[in-house]
């Protein structure tokens, strides 16, 4: 019944916290599923082959690219959080470090995505 309140207009730090938690939880669930389907090999090798076979589909290639993106972003920002906790310089320059995180992320993805997608869609 209560009317919508405004979304708090935090700056870079608040949004990177949102990104960090979202990517952290996404990675966790992905790896959980992956551990479970890998464990299938002990139960039924045929079922395992079928599930793992689906990893070769284009849809899966895109999900995989998303996973790599989430890990990269989470890892770079994780380093930023560690730096901010340990050094006063990093604490005072945390906003600039956010840009460093995104630049590092962009470089890594630019290196990774072409290879990955060529591999997935190039029929190799």
């Amino acid at each position: 019944m209560s009317p919508a309140t405004t979304l708090y207009r935090g700056h870079e730090g608040m949004w990177m916290w949102v990104v960090h938690r979202t990517t952290g939880i996404a990675i966790f669930f992905f790896l959980l599923v992956h551990v479970l389907d890998t464990a299938l090999v002990r139960v039924s090798p045929e079922a395992y082959n079928e599930v793992i076979g689906s990893y070769k589909t284009p849809l899966y290639a895109i999900i995989e690219a998303g996973l790599v993106a989430a890990i990269a972003l989470h890892a770079f920002n994780g380093l930023r959080v560690i730096a901010v906790d340990r050094s006063t310089w990093a604490l005072r320059h945390q906003r600039q470090l956010v840009w460093a995180v995104w630049i590092g992320f962009a470089i890594l993805m630019l290196g990774f995505l072409p290879r990955h997608l060529m591999h997935a869609f190039g029929g190799a």
């Binding site: 019944m1 009317p3 405004t6 708090y8 935090g10 700056h11 340990r86």
Partner: protein, 255 residues
């Protein structure tokens, strides 16, 4: 050169403007046929000067338009910490926020600070906030007999906690914290600032009592370095830095 006589701007005249305030109201009693406990947005338009603050506009509304509007203020000059509220989606003191700095072309939104129970309109129950402050024992703790004279301290030692002495307990930091919004158990940034002021005071001997309290699971480890507190503090305290220094004291075991 002679003075030109045409259209002389009156000396000291302050330009005026029309501003609209969009206020999130909460009516616990159910006046005017509303359900008790209803929450709704209400817009008020007032004439203001370019030198006016949000607090002046709230006064105009309360005094001239709608006397039922409830908000706290005391000093009106950024000293008492009574009027923290969420203005254009950020925590600020109404008495330190100029209307002209807020893009008065659009309605200015005013809401109570978030994470504390709303009592009426912009007034929240500050008790949970003060309770956290009391937890960290914000008073000088010493052993031995009281000295005859002042407890001396070097300027270097005084500088260690200078920043955190400036706190006015307005709660802008604590109620800007995303962790506090979802976890009312968290002491919140202000309690850590209050503790920092004594932990790093060379005259105080209670630092480990306080550090132990902040080492609790509702304590300093809940901080996720979102920096909302530092950005919200009307006193310009580097709140996240103070929290970080407390974390470091806990991990290194030295103050």
């Amino acid at each position: 050169m002679t003075a030109t006589a045409e259209a002389p701007a009156k000396a000291g005249a302050v330009p005026s403007m029309t501003v609209t305030l969009k206020i999130l109201r909460f009516d616990p009693d159910g006046l005017d046929g509303r359900e008790p406990g209803s929450e709704y947005w209400e817009e008020f338009t007032v004439e203001a000067h370019a030198t006016d603050r949000v607090l002046d506009a709230l006064h105009k509304i309360k005094w001239d338009i709608d006397g039922t509007l409830a908000f706290r203020r005391s000093c009106a000059h950024g000293v008492c910490g009574s009027d923290a509220m969420r203005i254009n989606a950020r925590n600020r003191l109404a008495c330190k926020t100029l209307l002209k700095d807020l893009n008065p072309a659009r309605p200015i939104t005013v809401e109570p600070i978030k994470g504390l129970p709303v009592e009426k309109d912009l007034i929240v129950d500050m008790e949970p906030f003060f309770a956290s402050y009391r937890e960290i024992m914000p008073f000088l703790m010493t052993s031995g007999p009281t000295p005859e004279r002042e407890r001396l301290q070097s300027p270097e030692d005084r500088a260690k906690f200078d920043d955190t002495t400036k706190c006015i307990l307005c709660a802008a930091c604590t109620t800007s914290c995303p962790v506090f919004w979802t976890d009312g158990q968290y002491f919140g940034p202000q309690a850590i600032v209050g503790a920092h002021r004594f932990i790093f005071d060379s005259r105080d001997e209670g630092e480990w009592d306080r550090l132990e309290i902040l080492n609790d699971k509702a304590g300093v480890w809940k901080c996720r370095t979102a920096f909302n507190c530092t950005e919200a503090c009307p006193r310009g305290i580097e709140v996240t830095k103070a929290i970080s220094e407390v974390k470091r004291a806990l991990t290194t075991g030295t103050v």
